[in-house]
């Protein structure tokens, strides 16, 4: 019985990665929920837009590296390129809105028409990303890769089991926290943020109160762009950049937003962590943890893995199905029906 070693092993292979993954999902799901509550459609281009934003950051990173400007304070160069990525993506999303979505808003098209339009944008975005990046994997993480390594941890604590904290993971968790706090401050304390909430609550009354819907829409896309670029960059630093993986994030992001309640920002965050921990927990091989926890002689002889990793989408899907069956409004009662 060595609970401490069990905990360390669990943290290293499950808790920390899940926390990082959950933070990345949360930033993405927040964007989905914001677009849903303001523009009122399911934004299918979300994953691919995230990929394009990350591609822009990678482009900036390569440029900076070529200039010899690298690794500020040992952190990844990509951090310096984020402002560039933000500018590109804000411009991209606002242009997409102007060229595509604005017309459908004007003619008061059905939400599904807007979803369809977002499919078109998805195709275009997808094509642009691949034109620049191809389909293969790009790694752009540099700087000190670890805050502390397994060996350092073991030497320091004297435990048998080691634990590492990668800078990308730590960065992800801290950034997500800061961004979430900033977002809630913006939504609850500023005039623009409140006008967004008002617009989401009651469009007609917001109009009557003199809130300019086009401005609200612009702010929404801008915030979405920020969330997307950060989420995409952090995900890419953590796991490497492959455009298709970003597309596949669509499902867990939607699942998180629906689980939390579409239209509820706090719900999107909670939903994202639930999805992340469920995915990781169910596809994690618990053998080591139980080897430490069980009394001698009773150690498990299998991997103790509930599902193979290939089925992580099945976990997300199961969560989605359970929510749809039992509580379609989500945990925090989103806008539904």
């Amino acid at each position: 019985m060595e609970p401490l070693n069990a905990l360390v092993s669990l943290s290293n292979f499950m808790l920390i990665p899940a926390l990082a993954y959950g933070s990345q999902l949360a930033l993405g799901a927040l964007g989905i929920t914001l677009i849903f509550s303001i523009l009122r459609f399911a934004h299918f281009a979300h994953g691919d837009t995230m990929a394009l934003g990350t591609a822009a950051v990678i482009g900036g990173t390569l440029f900076l590296q070529a200039q010899g400007i690298t690794e500020p304070f040992g952190l990844p160069t990509a951090l310096l390129a984020i402002p560039f990525g933000l500018l590109v993506m804000i411009a991209y999303l606002l242009t997409a809105d102007k060229l595509v979505y604005k017309y459908f808003r004007k003619v008061k098209a059905k939400p599904l028409t807007l979803v369809m339009a977002s499919l078109g944008v998805m195709f275009v975005t997808n094509g642009i990303t691949r034109l620049f990046m191809g389909v293969g994997e790009t790694r752009f993480e540099d700087g000190n890769r670890f805050l502390f390594t397994v060996r350092e941890f073991r030497d320091f604590t004297g435990l048998a089991e080691g634990m590492a904290l990668r800078s990308a993971q730590a960065l992800t968790i801290i950034t997500a926290l800061v961004v979430m706090v900033a977002l809630f401050w913006f939504l609850n304390r500023t005039r623009s943020g409140k006008s967004m909430r008002a617009y989401s609550d009651n469009e007609d009354l917001a109009l009557l109160s003199g809130i300019n819907p086009e401005r609200v829409v612009m702010i929404t896309w801008t915030i979405t762009a920020i969330l997307l670029v950060l989420a995409g960059t952090l995900y890419g630093l953590d796991k490497g950049f492959r455009p298709f993986n970003y597309f596949q994030l669509l499902l867990p992001m939607f699942a998180a937003a629906i689980l939390g309640g579409l239209g509820s920002p706090i719900g999107a965050i909670v939903g994202a962590y639930v999805v992340a921990f469920a995915e990781m927990g169910i596809t994690y091989a618990w053998r080591r943890v139980f080897t430490y926890l069980m009394p001698e002689g009773l150690e498990p002889n299998s991997m103790m893995q509930l599902l193979p990793v290939d089925y992580k989408f099945a976990v997300t899907f199961a969560i989605l199905v359970i929510v749809l069956l039992f509580r379609p409004t989500g945990i925090f009662k989103g806008k539904v029906l």
Partner: protein, 434 residues
């Protein structure tokens, strides 16, 4: 038949373009495009039933076609007795245990009053069921996969004629659609979209991972074909004399003849489906479906069980997609789970439906032809375009290399632009609903 002269003209142009491909590029390419267009047309028809008749948004087409493709393996491949002996029983038993676990937890949920006890009971059922299932299933699966893994390692199929696989593919897809529809219909319209997106990813994950079922990423190849292979046609005297008349090589003639054999089969199926779909659309049932689509609230108020009707049309449309998926696998003679990509198998079909004209069966068919043609031809066009763009650059420069190698992605861009332009300027499509 509800085709105007204009519609016929559009089809005529399409076939003229295909004829030009045959003349200027190669007859094989024209036949390949034709056959894939026909299959895409059937998929588009299925999607059009869901979207055009009922306004259901299915983004899991890939999953339904893949399930249809699985049927081909399970029907047409010969059974592998060693594998069955090694673990067939265990796998069947394991599957049954898995299903009974879910059923048992549903029964517990329905029978017990809501309480903490119920939650615990369901949890207990799931845990016990999971342990039992994996105890039986795991070793059986390992045993099956260990049987001659280089070429087999799966249970094989029923060894029936491949043509039976087509309706079975439709039934498989219908079954999956029923489960998804049961859960997500009757809620917000975008929920079906997200649920279908999910199920299609899972279907592909299962196909890739469960090697005992259809060899997973190792692919099943050499599946029996419904039409003679070119290699079998080549020695036939009439093929050889035909080659002489046309002035083509024998191998080219044989592959065109073989391809046209598929075309004939596909056209036959497509014709039956269109006939049925058109009849259904113009029947009282079709009018009711469209009435529901146009005003769900008043249809509900009139006492129509909208959710049930939606489930029905969703299952039917998905079955058509499954059928097309089975046809595609039997044409290729192989099931390659790794090749199923959502952009190609789900979203491209959507572009076909929107461009063709949602709500119009002929529109869906035309859309499939136009878009598949573009999909095939944009790639060389993109390369040509990139060659012009890069012609001024120094040979061997990185940028030139990069741009040339990226030409393939021009097609995604083109499809997106086509979809957006249609939605914006001609939302009713090439052949509008009437």
């Amino acid at each position: 038949m509800s085709l105007t002269a204009r519609d016929l003209g559009l089809f005529a142009i399409m076939f003229a373009v295909l004829a030009m491909v045959a003349m200027f590029q190669s007859p094989q390419l024209a036949v390949t495009i034709l056959n894939m267009s026909l299959i895409s047309a059937i998929m588009a028809l299925g999607v059009n039933m869901q979207w055009g008749y009922a306004g259901l948004f299915n983004v899991g087409i890939m999953g339904f076609t893949a399930v249809g493709g699985l049927a081909v393996v399970l029907i047409a491949q010969p059974p592998i007795p060693e594998a069955w002996a090694a673990g067939g029983l265990g796998i069947l038993l394991g599957l049954m245990l898995g299903v009974s676990t879910i059923l048992a937890s549903v029964i517990v949920y329905k029978r017990m009053t809501p309480s903490k006890m119920r939650g615990l009971a369901i949890f207990a059922v799931l845990v016990v069921g999971y342990l039992l299932t994996s105890y039986v299933f795991g070793p059986a699966k390992q045993a099956v996969q260990a049987v001659n893994p280089a070429s087999e390692g799966y249970l094989g199929g029923a060894g029936l004629p491949v043509i039976f696989a087509w309706p079975v593919g439709a039934v498989f897809a219908a079954g999956v659609a029923w489960m998804v529809g049961k859960v997500s219909l009757g809620l917000r319209s975008d929920y079906l979209a997200i649920a279908t997106l999910g199920i299609s990813e899972i279907v592909i994950a299962v196909l890739k991972h469960e090697r005992w079922l259809a060899r997973g990423v190792n692919n099943v190849t050499g599946i029996d074909r419904p039409v003679a292979r070119p290699i079998e046609l080549q020695p036939l005297p009439w093929v050889q004399s035909l080659a002489e008349t046309l002035g083509w090589s024998v191998s080219q003639t044989a592959s065109v003849v073989s391809g046209l054999g598929y075309s004939a089969l596909f056209i036959f199926v497509l014709a039956i489906l269109i006939w049925l779909a058109e009849r259904a659309l113009n029947s009282p049932w079709g009018r009711m479906m469209r009435a529901i689509r146009d005003n769900e609230i008043s249809a509900r108020a009139m006492g129509k069980d909208v959710t049930r009707r939606h489930l029905m049309i969703f299952v039917l449309g998905s079955a058509v997609c499954g059928l097309a998926g089975a046809m595609m696998v039997s044409m290729d003679g192989q099931l390659t789970p790794g090749s199923y990509e959502p952009l190609r198998f789900t979203f491209l079909i959507w572009v076909m439906v929107i461009v063709g004209g949602s709500g119009n069966n002929w529109g869906a068919v035309l859309g499939a032809f136009v878009i598949w043609f573009l999909w095939v031809q944009v790639e060389p066009a993109g390369r040509w375009f990139m060659e012009i763009v890069t012609s001024g650059m120094a040979d061997g420069s990185d940028l030139k290399q990069h741009l040339l190698s990226s030409a393939a992605y021009m097609r995604l861009l083109t499809m997106g632009v086509a979809l957006l332009l249609m939605l914006r300027f001609a939302p009713r499509g090439l052949i509008p609903e009437r």
